[in-house]
């Protein structure tokens, strides 16, 4: 049994910080664990025989190791261009604007290209969906491009064939369909927001009027679409204005962490949380099931099972006077018998929303049923938010559809033998289809099956033709952002494996099958030139395709490519009216019946007596629906909240875990603060079952278990295959997000989970700081209570003088949403290797920047904070003084330089670092052999080898670059000229870097703020990186 049962005496006071449940429970074994830095090695050294072996090995390595430095440098070649491209200066990167679409919604990007190789992705500051930031998925796209496991050749039943052979077979099949008007032709795509692709599909459908276009994209908000149709009677695009919202209610919505527009929303939300202007601070209430970034940032979070959200939402709606939202009698999930606490919560929220008419906002989560979305729309309408904080537009997606029905229709047609030709464009429906939609089985009844995909995946295995798809960095396309703004997707590199884009595949259906993607996209926009008021004055009829391009179009086109967006394409606001009463979701009723009414206030009511639980399906925060499963950067990324890597798990609350007698214990075996050895449980749900490891999540609602999709892939590639378990095997089409009747049984097996929450612990010190807004206004110095900053003179070493720059950083913990974009951004910028699950289990992950999660308060609903910890670049750095070879030294500008070529790997520095931010290459983690991976590395940063310590450098390559540029232009460096990689990608603008010697710089100003605090200041390390404390805008009616 795990020591985290809340029935144990609670050693922790209500205001005590904790990171691990064991820590909170005061488990003595955990305390010991905390103080042993390298527990795995302790035994080995105490054992006399092993010690001798150790000394022998050390002696031998010293003797032999010395000689390895004697090799002569190998001769290298310089390979210049034959004809050098005009704008290219060798050694200087170029930046190109492009866009990445996910679930049909694009984010604008600027991609850094070194001599034609894309190496780093940044957000496009001009793009409304980005404003210069990105999410983790966009950051990791570079690795996706160079993934050696990508589908590399066009194959027919596994045999390599030329494109012409495919064209021949496709044309023959189409010719046979011609008299049938394409009755047997089906096209299956993901959500399409590309105007060109939509036009091409329409064109195909006009050639084959009986053909059908199906859509299936697990990453796009299926329920949000349905909810809008339920509320308004039509598909409507919804966009939020968090910059105008004073009070926000999130109905199980993780709008900060995922979904369309989340990068922009995080920026807008964070802008309204700067306590400097305490009066403007927004307030966020969250009904949260699986703890999310949004729930963590909420001022008031109520953990509820997903099925309870609808009932509570309806009650809040009723309380603010929305008509037609009451549930049918007897079906009020989380209904009348809820506790006083919940009632108080609902009343307070309703009152606060009403007090902010026109500046409040209700957001429903993508995983919530359509009815909840409809209720949210009705509430926003009633509160006068429509048109102010909620903007309704035409849908961003081209021709939205009920995708589940669409996929179901396709399967029915396939089973009926009505499909002769199925072209699957992108996606992996064989893997992602719900368990009760036998897509894979039905597929075999199709005469000709074609799959265009990045990977030779589960779907490819059942198709005749596998066509390697181009990565978005390889092909021309276009896409729309969350607000409809269109961008041209511009390739950065020629297709690595002769891939084809969706546009080029669809061209094969037309009379000009060999048209290039570039021509297709350009012709489409040329035809639209008149609508966009381009075309040099006449602007009358749209130019005919192929009629050549006007000079005005040419210049506009170049401008679009340069800026990364097409101006004037954002969708304009519309007025829509909520129609009639909103029928309640049958599934919610079902659950209420099955589970019985229960209190929702922090899970105080007991879980259902019959042992049946609710199952909750969520897209994985790292690999989404499995499409990023083969991306090592994302697989190794500690997921927000759970900090799991390389696996999914059965996530349950502490109380539910106790009831089920399952859980995990941190184990010392194998490495530093190691791993979670967890019970394997069998999930039985509607006659299907899968096995997975149980994992306890503080703040998770009781009586339900969350499973993340996207794992258990069988044909993902070397990286992604065989990780985790496949939750799709339990998912049914009538309960895509959650459903009742889950049984969990222990199997008696144990499984090791690589969870980084226990890694790099600072011995229970150095916690985050938080305060309520009222206290902050009244007595801000309360934040500094108990601070002991030793006098500056308390050091034996002479003080450093800084005549030039003095770099520093602040991280605003109040803004941080724990989204991990900075971690992947840092990994991409600094050539940080992926180490694999076995090494993560040993505590050897290499991320220079980690995001610590801190909890405070009760385990069933703790306050949750994220504290990113890079190297602090201490003034009195403990690492510097212990290095025997001077491999880490203080620079003239205050950096703790890490000199790889001097490092001999003693690891004294890491041992002496109180922040645990140094990372050691225990093995040769970097792949030095795979050619495609070499292309993606940043040429400005050394690729480290085995036996070398490394750590955050404040992106010194960027500092040097900017300084050199400024020197050459004979101008002083401006504040903001240098952005570290983590700062640049941060959606919440939480990280600020700059010169502390310049009193006007943003970072200097922030470090003078009262919220500024240093980690472990009592150690007199005098860190350069400091933090800004959290200020929570608590509703006084509810208290803390």
């Amino acid at each position: 049994m795990s020591p985290l049962n809340s029935s144990k005496p609670d050693n922790a006071g209500p205001r005590t910080w904790w990171r691990a449940l064991e820590e909170r429970a005061g488990d003595p074994a955990f305390q010991e664990l905390l103080h042993n830095e390298f527990p795995s090695q302790v035994e080995a050294i105490a054992d006399p025989v092993a010690r001798r072996t150790f000394l022998k090995l050390m002696g031998a390595s010293l003797a032999l190791g010395g000689f390895t430095g004697c090799t002569l440098q190998p001769s290298e070649k310089i390979v210049p261009y034959v004809r050098q491209p005009e704008e290219l200066i060798p050694g200087r990167p170029l930046f190109f604007a492009t866009a990445m679409a996910l679930g049909g919604v694009a984010i604008g990007l600027l991609v850094e290209s070194h001599e034609g190789r894309p190496t780093k992705i940044e957000g496009n500051p001009l793009h409304p969906g980005s404003l210069g930031a990105t999410d983790a998925f966009a950051q990791a796209a570079v690795l996706g491009l160079y993934d050696p496991d990508r589908s590399q050749t066009l194959t027919n039943l596994g045999d390599i064939r030329p494109w012409s052979a495919f064209l021949g077979e496709l044309r023959a099949a189409l010719a046979a369909q011609q008299p049938l008007k394409g009755a047997g032709v089906r096209i299956l795509t993901e959500s399409v927001s590309s105007p060109t692709l939509a036009a091409q599909i329409r064109d195909v459908l006009s050639r084959f009027p009986s053909a059908k276009w199906h859509r299936w994209d697990p990453a796009s908000g299926e329920q949000a679409r349905a909810g809008a149709r339920l509320a308004f009677g039509e598909y409507v695009g919804v966009r939020y204005r968090f910059d105008r919202a004073d009070v926000i209610l999130a109905l199980d919505s993780d709008f900060l962490g995922c979904g369309p527009g989340s990068v922009r929303y995080a920026r807008d939300f964070a802008e309204r949380r700067r306590p400097g202007q305490a009066g403007r601070m927004n307030r966020l209430y969250a009904l949260d099931s699986m703890p999310s970034s949004t729930g963590a940032r909420a001022d008031h979070r109520l953990p509820v099972r997903p099925s309870e959200v609808e009932g509570l939402a309806r009650r809040i709606a009723a309380a603010i006077g929305v008509g037609g939202v009451e549930q049918a009698t007897g079906s009020s999930a989380g209904g009348q018998t809820t506790s006083d606490q919940t009632a108080r919560w609902i009343n307070a929220v309703a009152k606060d929303l009403q007090a902010h008419r026109g500046s409040s906002l209700v957001v429903a989560g993508d995983e919530q049923p359509a009815a909840v979305h409809a209720v949210a729309h009705a509430m926003n309408a009633a509160l006068g938010n429509a048109g102010s904080t909620v903007i309704y537009t035409d849908p961003v997606e081209a021709e939205p559809a009920d995708q589940l029905a669409s996929l179901g229709d396709l399967v029915n047609d396939m089973n009926a033998g009505a499909v002769d030709l199925l072209v699957i464009i992108g996606g992996n429906p064989v893997y992602t289809a719900p368990a009760d939609v036998p897509f894979g089985a039905a597929l075999s009844k199709v005469r000709l099956r074609v799959h265009l995909g990045l990977y030779d995946d589960e779907t490819s295995a059942l198709c005749h033709w596998q066509i390697p798809e181009t990565h978005f960095l390889e092909a021309w396309s276009d896409a729309r952002a969350y607000d409809g703004t269109a961008s041209i997707v511009q390739p950065l590199i020629a297709p690595l494996y002769n891939g084809k884009s969706a546009h080029e595949l669809l061209a094969a259906f037309t009379d000009r099958p060999e048209r290039s993607g570039y021509d297709i996209v350009r012709d489409y926009w040329n035809a639209r030139a008149a609508d966009l008021k381009i075309g040099g004055g006449d602007g009358a009829a749209a130019p005919k395709p192929g009629a050549g391009f006007s000079a005005a179009f040419e210049s506009a086109w170049r401008r679009w490519l340069h800026d990364g967006l097409i101006p004037g394409t954002a969708l304009s606001a519309r007025t829509v009216a909520v129609r009639g009463p909103i029928p309640s979701t049958s599934i919610a009723t079902m659950i209420a019946g099955a589970a019985g009414p229960r209190g929702a206030a922090g899970g105080t009511a007991p879980p259902p007596a019959d042992g049946a639980l609710e199952i909750v399906f969520r897209s994985d925060p790292s690999v989404l629906d499995g499409r990023f499963a083969n991306n090592g950067w994302l697989q190794e990324l500690p997921k927000p909240i759970t900090k799991l890597t390389w696996d999914n798990a059965v996530l349950v609350s502490p109380k539910t875990a106790e009831m089920l007698k399952v859980g995990g214990v941190p184990s010392m075996q194998g490495g530093e603060h190691g791993q979670i050895v967890s019970d394997v449980v069998e999930l039985r749900y509607r006659g299907r079952s899968v096995k997975g490891a149980a994992f306890v999540v503080p703040g998770h609602p009781d009586g339900c278990a969350t499973v993340h999709l996207g794992y258990g892939r069988t044909r993902a590639g070397q990286v992604g295959s065989g990780t985790g378990f496949n939750a799709n095997a339990l998912r049914t089409s009538d309960a895509m997000s959650f459903g009742p009747g889950l049984q969990i049984a222990r199997t008696g097996e144990r499984y090791s989970l690589a969870c980084t929450q226990y890694h790099h612990l600072m011995e229970g010190r150095g916690q985050v700081r938080a305060i309520t807004r009222d206290e902050f206004v009244r007595n801000p110095s309360a934040l500094k209570e108990g601070d002991q900053t030793p006098p500056k003179t308390l050091t034996l070493y002479p003080e450093h003088k800084y005549e030039g720059h003095k770099w520093g950083m602040t991280i605003d913990v109040n803004a941080c949403i724990g989204c991990n974009a900075c971690v992947v951004g840092c990994q991409s910028e600094n050539n940080i290797p992926v180490v694999g699950k076995a090494q993560v289990l040993a505590g050897r992950e290499m991320h220079w920047l980690r995001i610590d999660t801190y909890y405070r308060g009760p385990v069933d609903n703790p306050e949750t904070y994220f504290q990113p910890v890079p190297c602090m670049q201490c003034e009195n750095a403990p690492c510097e003084v212990v290095c025997p070879v001077g491999a880490t030294v203080h620079s003239d500008e205050g950096l703790n330089d890490m000199v790889y070529n001097r490092c001999v790997g003693t690891r004294y520095c890491s041992n002496n670092c109180p922040y645990k931010v140094r990372r050691f290459n225990f093995l040769l983690y970097q792949d030095w052999t795979t050619p495609s991976l070499k292309l993606g590395r940043n040429p400005d940063v050394t690729v480290r080898s085995r036996g070398v310590m490394e750590k955050c450098t404040y992106c010194v390559q960027r500092i040097n670059e900017a300084k050199i540029d400024a020197e050459k232009e004979e101008r002083p460096l401006k504040d903001g000229d240098i952005k570290t990689a983590c700062q640049q990608v941060c959606p919440a603008d939480a990280i600020v870097f700059g010169d502390l010697n310049d009193p006007g710089s943003r970072v200097a100003q922030l470090q003078r703020e009262v919220r500024n605090y240093a980690l472990l200041a009592e150690l007199n390390t005098r860190p350069r990186t400091t933090y800004l404390a959290v200020v929570r805008n608590v509703n006084p009616e509810l208290g803390e």
């Binding site: 390979v79 261009y81 010194v956």
Partner: protein, 216 residues
């Protein structure tokens, strides 16, 4: 009890103990000498190239400026190796049939790059930037030697860190006026220290010796 060791053992012990000190010191001296030798640094060793390109002829003979070929030296970390097109600018007209230039023509027609052997090869953990050095008055010949007298290219200096740091500590000993940076005829004047000190102030030359200046 008889003596186990012969008396001479004492002498042998003394000689070997004191001798060892000199022996080890000698070894260390040898090691430093070897590590600075051109066997290790390859300084002064002309390198084989796919084409017998002569800097002597092009620079001293034809008077071509460094930047005609090394175009990015003022803009980028990398000075730039000319694309085949640059060679063909002239050699499509002159010596257009020379057998020595066959690899150039072949490269131009087959669109395959000429693979030159790198002469000045810094380790991969060193990041040197040409543009800033040129901007601050470090002449080409200061590091690359009298290129105009090299029929085949060789490395004139050791390129070892002590050599870099020598100038980074005392740039006044090496800098020259900006207008003479690309001159191959420039020779340091007698009053170099005086001139250098003036230029260091004028060009805002910093004495950058932090590790991260070059290593990152």
């Amino acid at each position: 009890m008889p003596q186990i060791f012969h008396r001479s053992t004492n002498t042998i012990a003394r000689v070997s103990i004191f001798g060892a000190v000199f022996f080890i010191a000698g070894l260390l001296l040898l090691a430093t000498a070897v590590s600075r030798s051109s066997w290790v640094t390859e300084a002064g060793v002309p390198r084989e190239q796919p084409i017998q390109f002569s800097h002597e002829r092009h620079v001293a003979g034809n008077g071509i400026d460094c930047r005609y070929c090394h175009t990015s030296v003022e803009d980028s970390a990398f000075a730039g190796i000319p694309p085949t097109k640059t060679c063909m600018n002239c050699h499509s007209q002159i010596f257009s049939n020379s057998p020595f230039l066959e690899p150039v023509r072949e490269s131009f027609h087959t669109d395959r790059s000429i693979e030159w052997t790198r002469v000045h090869d810094l380790p991969d953990f060193v990041y040197f930037n040409h543009s800033i050095h040129v901007h601050k008055g470090v002449g080409c010949t200061t590091c690359h030697g009298q290129v105009d007298r090299m029929p085949l290219m060789w490395q004139a200096k050791s390129l070892q860190m002590e050599w870099c740091v020598d100038c980074h500590r005392e740039p006044e000993r090496y800098v020259r006026p900006r207008d003479a940076v690309f001159s191959v005829e420039y020779a340091p004047p007698a009053n170099q220290l005086e001139l250098g000190t003036r230029l260091v102030a004028e060009y805002h030359i910093q004495k950058l010796t932090s590790c991260s200046t070059c290593h990152r």
